[in-house]
Symmetry: C2
Subunit: 257 residues, 2 copies
DNA sequence: ACAAAAGTGTTATCCTTACACCCATGT
DNA sequence: ACATGGGTGTAAGGATAACACTTTTGT
């Protein structure tokens, strides 16, 4: 029994332990080279990409399933993980695309094929990950994983494009209430890196001077030594999160939340 | 065949058309006597209350199911209807409570009993309704419907208390982005009624003068003639929503959304 | 000397907050 | 006359936005 067949046998055994018709899709965000990126899987033989997802065990909390799926896929826990919307349109999974995908599976795995072609209601979770620490693994059905610039997405399967826009909108609103960045940036970072992160999320440019003042006023940053870089300009300060103050701010919230 | 039996037969036929394990619960809010109220159902013979809910047909969009359930239960469409969270904890429906409920059902309807006792993941929708126009009907399993002060809730079944707090929190945040009130107030209303509505949602008192200025600055109200009331004070203006401006503001959003 | 990016400062404007003041009305 | 609730005004403080000025650094 080769590896693929063994994997399939395992999957087929799992099917009965999963809740039918209910899935989880994760929008995993990372920040690298001043770009906001999302983790995508490329399907085997089908020229389409999709979000990493999974299913819920019959005796498992939905939130725990999201954590588990992320661990399985990424090899690490995400600091920020939050459900943002449930997508329940009857026709959300295009029939043509379903045929293409299940066509890849031969008869020996027809149970998996049937499982995959049933109607699914999916719940979207958004997660932040440190790209350097993450270790994404493609699964049996996917050929590779990649971090893709969220503003230059390839053709996505089903309604996954739609799910990503929902996720982006979700964190845009939360940005007024929660100081993101802790789980997306390296331990030490410059103010302009933080600004670039905010700009990629909001999709617009911000004033450098005002951004700095607004952030520092939050009182959740430590100013570290200056970064010595070989560029022809003044060296920026490095910052890190002041954990205690950060937790306090999260608790009481920036706005009303 | 009496009415109850007939109803049950119908329900049992419906069961096969529904998606198993997936339900919808609606937090329907209304505003009456300067109090924010939520629509609750009282279970027959069990001294507990619950949110009105329902199931999704196998060929039906989830959002459409929410609309349908509200129409069936309330006899009218709600202007504002929005999904806010999906509750998927394995143990969210207490087993003791489930026994109490399914114990009410005799063998003749055991299929319904089985249906009800399976694990459910439920998606919460929040709706606003004009209490005077609404016409809520109890269903077979419930003895009565009532509008209950949201800040003085009775004992609720399962995690419904938790679902309501989530809903309240959801609209508290949205209050910064969406001018509510249109679907909760009468066509003409006073500024102090609107303020009471905001206060019930936010759970805190607001300054009368500042509230008025903030609201009027939005430019979405018509000032109508004064209301002549028999009280020992100055007559307040009546306001109505300026539909055109209201729609425009909704579109562009108050804050960032 | 110069460009480039960083840190800081200035100003006008707007919004929020906390009140104060006067007005209309029935008792 | 007075209490009650309604409409409007004002002044202080904070937040925002636009932009200017200075500093550091490598070429």
């Amino acid at each position: 029994m080769n590896e693929a067949t063994h994997f399939l046998k395992t999957i087929e055994n799992e099917i009965e332990k999963w809740i039918p018709g209910q899935s989880i899709d994760c929008v995993v965000l990372g920040f690298e080279e001043n770009t906001l990126k999302v983790l995508l899987l490329k399907w085997k033989q089908v020229n389409r990409w999709s979000l990493p997802g999974g299913f819920i065990y019959k005796d498992e909390n939905m939130d725990s399933a999201a954590v588990r799926i992320l661990e399985e896929r990424m090899g690490l826990k995400s600091i920020f993980l939050s459900q943002f919307h449930t997508f329940g349109d009857f026709g959300r999974r295009d029939k043509e695309e379903l045929k293409e995908i299940s066509g890849q599976l031969d008869n020996s795995i027809s149970r998996l094929g049937k499982w995959l072609t049933q109607r699914f209601i999916t719940t979207g979770y958004i997660a932040f990950a440190d790209i350097r620490k993450a270790n994404p693994k493609p699964d049996f059905l996917s050929e590779k994983c990649e971090w893709v610039d969220i503003h230059q997405l390839p053709v996505l399967i089903f309604d996954h494009q739609h799910i990503i826009s929902y996720a982006l909108n979700f964190i845009r609103i939360r940005l007024n209430y929660v100081p993101f960045g802790k789980s997306l940036l390296q331990q030490k970072f410059t103010m302009s890196e933080l600004q670039k992160l905010y700009e990629s999320i909001l999709g617009k440019n911000l004033d450098r001077a005002n951004f700095q003042k607004k952030m520092l006023k939050l009182g959740i940053f430590n100013r570290e030594e200056k970064l010595l870089l070989g560029t022809a300009n003044k060296a920026p300060y490095l910052y890190s999160f002041h954990n205690e103050n950060y937790e306090m701010l999260i608790k009481k919230g920036i706005g009303y939340l």
